[in-house]
């Protein structure tokens, strides 16, 4: 599934079953890091490439770098390579950091040079032990190059710890909770300096674009979005794992490669826990292209593709995720703390076959009411997931609400 005929994409090179690619092998395969003498050209190249951030929000990478590179004043900036990957079902960042640590370091160095940063922080989820070990070893291989400017910070556990303001807050104060914006971290972040918080996959891709250019980047991509991207395929598949796909590849092709069939799949969760459900039928022909998906109200997000088997109930699966997201609230903002809890409770009651009167109406009312009412986008992401669940599993929600039983698992559950 790795993009054919190109040995230079993110996961090209040695097998992912083996050891991390060490620095001599990395250089032998890809060449040394291009001179950073012309960092302005790299920003232009990133803009021309159309590369979007791979942390979930999909913000254009070139524009993000440009905003900091063109700041007023000469104060130093900070680059944070964000490898928190708090999304429980996503594995692509930890796989990348574990097996291609030098691509991430290359990207971080290039970003620091391009935006005029004198500090680099590698911010890695503490639970991703293999990734931490590999990045540590790679950093020591690059000790001379990185010098004193780079440090590794272990991110705390938790879904919100990777959110940009929470990242900055944790590095500054040890509190991994989001902060009110403005100020944006690009204006005042780590140590009050302008800070570029960039997902590790985006940085790794910047390292390839620096070497091969934006035209090369755009040579992959079947539809409007160009390039390749890492996806995590899991759930009801034979071969779960992290794959690199050409953007625009129909989901069905990826699913087939992973050993899934449309007949055994009920629905697919795309983009992460903040993402969207799609029915198996719709998913199979859907191009995995962020622009196409966005136009259909779907999320490419962090590239998660999680398959729900036909034997499982979408109401139940959604309740599990909503419980997780409600618990993951940083509990700083009322509408998120209370709204997500109420949504999770109602969904769980429906899933368990003991709905309270009006639970479905409550969910439908709380979705628009909760939107946009938080310091960060945690409630917005949870609501996107919840709304798509009602859309895809609407009949199941109604059946649960009406009968207290599940038509999918065929179980009468109205037993307290």
């Amino acid at each position: 599934m790795t993009f054919p005929n190109d040995t230079r994409r993110l996961l090209a090179g040695p097998s992912l079953d083996g050891n991390p690619e060490r620095y001599p092998a990395h250089i032998a395969r890809l060449g040394a890091l291009p001179s950073s003498a012309a960092p302005a050209d790299l920003v232009g190249s990133l803009e021309a490439s159309g590369l979007l951030g791979r942390g979930g929000a999909g913000f254009p990478v070139g524009r993000k770098w440009r905003a900091i590179a063109s700041r007023d004043g000469k104060s130093g900036a900070v680059v944070v390579a964000n490898g928190a990957e708090g999304e429980p079902a996503s594995h692509k960042d930890r796989v990348l950091m574990t097996h291609r640590p030098h691509l991430v370091i290359d990207g971080a160095i290039l970003a620091a040079d391009a935006v005029g940063a004198d500090e680099i922080v590698f911010y890695i989820g503490r639970e991703h032990e293999a990734a931490v070990a590999s990045m540590k070893a790679a950093m020591s291989e690059r000790k001379v190059e990185l010098g004193k400017r780079a440090k590794l910070v272990l991110a705390p556990l938790g879904y919100v710890a990777g959110e940009a303001t929470a990242v900055v807050n944790y590095i500054n104060s040890g509190k991994g909770k989001p902060m009110t914006v403005p100020p944006r971290v690009s204006e005042r972040g780590v140590g009050k300096k302008p800070t570029l918080v960039q997902n590790v996959e985006s940085l790794a891709y910047a390292a390839l674009i620096a070497r091969y250019g934006d035209v090369w980047y755009r040579s992959a991509g079947r539809l409007s979005s160009k390039g390749t991207a890492l996806v995590t395929v899991s759930g009801a598949v034979k071969d779960a794992g992290v794959w690199e796909i050409e953007l625009g590849t129909p989901f069905g092709e990826v699913a087939q490669e992973a050993g899934a069939t449309v007949g055994r799949t009920r629905a697919v969760l795309m983009g992460g826990y903040f993402g969207t459900w799609t029915s198996a039928e719709d998913a199979w022909t859907l191009p995995l292209d962020p622009a196409v998906m966005k136009a259909s109200g779907l999320a490419f997000g962090c590239g998660l593709l999680w398959l729900l088997p036909t034997a499982s109930c979408g109401v139940w699966a959604t309740a599990q995720i909503m419980e997780y997201l409600a618990d993951a609230s940083a509990a700083q903002c009322g509408p998120c703390l209370f709204g997500l809890r109420a949504l999770a409770d109602a969904t769980s009651r429906l899933a368990a076959g003991r709905p309270a009167l009006g639970d479905l109406a409550l969910i439908e009312r709380l979705i628009p009411q909760t939107a946009g009412r938080g310091a960060c986008h945690h409630p917005d992401g949870a609501i996107q997931l919840m709304a798509s669940a009602l859309h895809v599993f609407g009949d199941d929600f109604a059946y649960h609400a009406r009968t207290g039983a599940c038509a999918v698992t065929n179980t009468p559950m109205a037993v307290r």
Binding site: T180, C333, G334, G339, G374
Partner: protein, 77 residues
């Protein structure tokens, strides 16, 4: 700068807001409350005739979580 006085919108610092619900009674046409007492702001800018009430609502918040800002405040560049 250059904004007409009424050409403003209400901003809530959600981390500061603790749901004391003291804002809504001062400007009920602009600020509603959810079931937990947290404000729900009517979308759009504040009309000139609403400004006095809204300013009272801002002043009523014990957490200083409300402020009047220009409509393009916090828009991404």
């Amino acid at each position: 700068m250059g904004q007409k006085p009424a050409d403003m919108k209400l901003r809530i610092d959600w981390i500061l807001c603790d749901g004391y619900s003291l804002c809504s009674p001062e400007a009920p046409d602009v600020i509603d409350l959810d079931e937990w007492g947290y404000p729900i702001i009517r979308p759009g800018v504040i009309a000139a005739h609403e400004l006095k009430d809204v300013k009272r609502a801002v002043a009523a918040c014990p957490m200083s979580a409300l402020s009047l800002v220009s409509p393009d405040f916090d828009k991404r560049s």
